[in-house]
């Protein structure tokens, strides 16, 4: 039992990080039909940006701020203006392919300019264990969980409680109507890109201390985020959150109870089952189809 | 005259809303039956139920006395039922001739024989005839997407005839077609009806077109059949006048 409890906490912690990444992923899909195959690399990069600023002599707190800002410029603003904007009107597939190329580019750039080896990364939450209900639980897991939940909570309040959030939702659901009622759709789309960049930077900050900073670490993360987004419901923020948590827990349980060899197969099979039997996702709405 | 198509008590509900509510009628061999009614009265839904695009919530469809309810569109097409759509449905990147060959090829031989056989499935001649019949000669090698709206409508109709169908359901063939092309289209339909003894059901809002083309007209309102009869009878029917002019 104690084992199961630990697994659940660790699963929820990784799941919360997946959720951050998946939420950003669905936001991009909703506002601009971007399937970002580089989302995993987007998580990998900010840690290196922070490391670079630290190498340049900045203290950790400053490196975090600069890293997040740089991510928002590179992965938010530049990504949207240089790649997404020119390609958006040409349909989903060419843009998706371009993000695949981008993923290769980011990976190679990190390998070339930083290192091909894994680098350690400082944790922003203290390490060690605390005792909850008689269980020793790693502080890091708790810290990650709390921070991720705060971020998600902040985002959902922004989307659901503020007029800015309502405008963003309007821009995502029906840009034409939104434009007519005076929503600055273009600015709202840019905002979702900036939010995505912020979320991946945060995810990077939380997950890198656990898995180390490595150029190739985005592959696994990106896939986990895809799966989380689809499983939860591609067109829903709360679906992506639930999907992230679910995949995190499933991942950890699979690692413990399924052979390590086929651990990675569990989320995949789950994904296939969800797509085939509930394509709108566990929490998603069916996308309207017209004959 | 025997019935080609017998429709009995077709129903279709979407959620709690009933779009088609127990419609029964039959289509006689060789006739042109018009189907009219206000927007949203269930005409297109009825078509889609008959043609297997939607599964009806109740009722049955018989073709030549055989039950065909629930067959897939492709299977029905093989049995000689063809259709056009309300919105343009041609294959924009294929040429006009390729569109027509495609429209007929699945009626030639088996799937395996079409793989090893001629690349045009032996239909170039038939396609060219159809092109001539619909006066599209100068456009035969153009991609269908480059044609004007009216020309695409003609092509759309022509495609429905390539398989040599016995029964064709046309969903607003005249919508958006300019008057000179409209009389062309009517001539073509009448000619095919006479020469090939094909039976038509035509949904149309253009009253003049329906009244002059059809031998019988069925009027629908709110998912039900309101009236059925010769055009002049229907025109005088008080219930029909009420449905169109009332509210």
């Amino acid at each position: 039992m104690s084992n199961l409890f630990d697994l659940l906490v660790a699963g929820l912690a990784t799941g919360a990080i997946y959720a951050l990444v998946a939420v950003g992923f669905t936001l991009l899909w909703q506002t601009s039909q971007t399937i970002n195959f580089a989302q995993g690399e987007f998580v990998m990069l900010p840690a290196f940006l922070m490391l670079a600023t630290m190498h340049a002599g900045a203290p950790f707190w400053l490196a975090i701020i600069l890293g997040i800002l740089l991510s928002m410029i590179l992965l938010g603003l530049a990504f949207k203006m240089l790649l997404v904007d020119p390609m958006m009107r040409h349909g989903v597939l060419p843009l998706a392919i371009a993000t695949m190329a981008l993923a290769i580019g980011i990976k190679e750039a990190v390998k070339q300019f930083f290192s091909a080896e894994a680098s350690p990364f400082p944790s922003i939450v203290p390490t060690g264990d605390i005792s909850i209900l008689g269980h020793a639980v790693s502080l890091q897991s708790i810290g990650v969980l709390v921070l991720a939940i705060l971020a998600v909570f902040g985002l959902t309040s922004l989307l659901n409680r503020t007029s800015l959030g309502h405008q963003m939702q309007a821009a995502a659901q029906n840009p034409t109507v939104a434009r007519i009622i005076g929503v600055p759709v273009e600015r709202m789309i840019l905002l979702t890109f900036l939010i995505n960049a912020f979320l991946v930077a945060l995810a990077s900050l939380l997950i890198t201390p656990i898995y180390l900073a490595k150029f190739s670490s985005g592959e696994v993360l990106g896939q986990a985020a895809f799966i989380a987004a689809i499983v939860g419901g591609f067109n829903q923020v709360r679906g992506a959150i639930a999907g992230g948590l679910l995949i995190g827990v499933l991942d950890n349980l699979a690692a413990a109870y399924v052979s390590t060899q086929y651990r990675a197969a569990v989320p995949m099979i789950f994904l296939i089952a969800v797509i085939l039997f509930r394509p709108q996702g566990l929490l998603g709405r069916a996308e309207e189809r017209t004959v | 005259m025997s019935a080609v198509l017998e429709v009995t008590g077709i129903k279709k509900n979407f959620g709690g809303i009933s779009a088609v509510d127990g419609v029964s009628f039959d289509v006689r061999e060789g006739e042109i039956l018009g189907l009219i009614g206000p927007n949203g009265c269930g005409k297109s839904t009825l078509f889609n139920c008959i043609l297997g695009q939607l599964t009806p919530s109740g009722g049955e469809v018989k073709l030549d006395g055989k039950l065909v309810t629930g067959l897939r569109p492709a299977e029905l097409n093989k049995l000689g039922v063809s259709r056009t759509f309300q919105l343009l449905q041609v294959f924009p990147k294929l040429s006009v001739r390729e569109n027509l060959i495609l429209a007929g090829q699945e009626h030639q031989g088996s799937m395996a024989s079409r793989l090893v056989g001629r690349s045009d499935a032996g239909l170039t001649e038939a396609a060219n005839q159809m092109i001539g019949f619909f006066k599209l000669d100068h456009l035969a090698d153009e991609p269908a997407g480059g044609l004007s709206y009216g020309q695409q409508k003609l092509l759309d109709a022509a495609m429905a005839f390539m398989g040599g169908p016995r029964l064709v359901l046309l969903d607003e063939p005249a919508g958006g077609v300019n008057p000179s092309m409209l009389s062309d289209l009517k001539d073509r339909l009448v000619a095919i009806n006479r020469e090939k003894n094909a039976t038509f059901v035509v949904i149309e809002h253009n009253m003049e077109f329906v009244m002059s083309l059809c031998s019988r007209v069925m009027v629908m309102a709110e998912g039900k059949v309101l009236a059925m009869g010769r055009p002049d009878e229907v025109r005088k029917n008080p219930a029909v006048i009420e449905a169109y002019l009332g509210h």
Binding site: I97, Y262 | A74, S82, V90, F91, L115, A121
Partner: protein, 332 residues
């Protein structure tokens, strides 16, 4: 491609074919390896182009089928079977698995389909890696023999290059036949308007499955050639990135264009080699080049040519119309 005169096209084709046969004769071992790899990847990309470019079904699993073909060939030929028999098995196997993978496409489309095939790709990789009794696991299979064709040993790079080139030629002809047949037309109908296709009697279910199965079978053939080409296989080359690379080849070359895969494979295989002089930067430059190309022309390289020819045609047509109009006016 209808803008060129036919004799010109034939002459151009013959020159390219002759070039592919004659020029590599003085290539070194490495050059021949790269060129053979181009031929093999062209076959795999051609398969994906059939599924995606012609029939419009997104697949992120083509790399898995290359893997299935490669393992089938590696296992059989190291057990003493001749390569042609292994190729037949690779075709049958990947055709069957591709057929099954087509079933999800009957339920879901677009990005959902992409993710199902992506998941399949990962699962296939896990099987390659974990079922060591069959695949040798992470140690892979080595000493894969190259075949004797008509009694001629193809151990040396040049003869084996000709095996790859010959296979490419056969596959190209078969695909050419297929896309010009009524099946090719039905595939395109599936891509452009499945609803209308159904109403014209096109059995969209069966054609969808066929598009997957045939495309996958070509992936299998490519794999069955890849194994004797490298003479050693392990699971790594057949992970998800191969599927993504193949997809990139198809889109970059031009999806739905017959010659797209040849060009796409050329860029994916040769461009990084040409960029080798930049050392560590070559993949980065490749990625940037792909992005720039797609921004410029989302329909790939052949899309540029196609647009140019279409423009020329409309210009010619409007010129004709202007002439006709002026004649009409003079008559009046």
């Amino acid at each position: 491609m209808s803008g060129f005169a036919k004799p010109l096209k034939i002459a151009l084709g013959l020159i390219v074919i002759a070039g592919l046969i004659i020029v590599p004769m003085n290539f070194n071992r490495y050059g021949l390896f790269i060129l053979s790899q181009w031929a093999v990847m062209s076959i795999a990309a051609m398969g994906l182009n059939l599924t995606l470019g012609y029939a419009g079904q997104v697949s992120l699993a083509q790399g898995a089928f290359v893997g299935i073909g490669a393992y089938a060939a590696a296992i059989m030929t190291t057990q003493g079977w001749p390569l042609p028999a292994a190729i037949v098995v690779a075709i049958v196997l990947s055709f069957a698995v591709g057929w099954v993978l087509g079933y999800p496409a009957l339920r879901v489309q677009h990005h959902y389909l992409a993710f199902v095939t992506l998941a399949f790709s990962t699962l296939a990789f896990l099987v390659f890696r974990n079922e060591s009794w069959l695949t040798g696991g992470i140690y892979g299979i080595s000493n894969i023999p190259r075949p004797h064709i008509f009694g001629i040993a193809t151990n040396k790079p040049l003869p084996f290059y000709y095996v790859c080139l010959g296979s490419l030629a056969i596959v190209s002809l078969a695909v050419w036949w297929l896309i010009r047949s009524p099946w090719g037309r039905a595939f395109m109908a599936l891509r452009e308007n499945p609803l209308r296709a159904q109403s014209l009697g096109v059995d969209t279910r069966r054609y969808t499955l066929m598009a997957f199965a045939i495309g996958s079978a070509l992936g299998g053939i490519a794999g069955a050639l890849y194994a004797p080409l490298t003479q050693y296989i392990d699971p790594v080359p057949f992970n998800l990135s191969l599927s993504l690379d193949l997809l990139m080849m198809v889109i970059v070359g031009g999806a739905g264009f017959y010659f797209g895969p040849f060009l796409g494979a050329m860029i994916a295989v040769l461009l990084p080699e040409w960029l080798r002089f930049t050392e560590g930067y070559y993949l980065m430059l490749y990625a940037v080049a792909v992005m720039l190309l797609l921004i410029w022309s989302p329909t790939g390289i052949l899309g540029i040519l196609d647009r140019y020819l279409a423009e020329r045609r409309t210009k010619a047509a409007s010129a004709l119309r202007a002439v006709a109009k002026s004649r009409l006016e003079t008559v009046q």
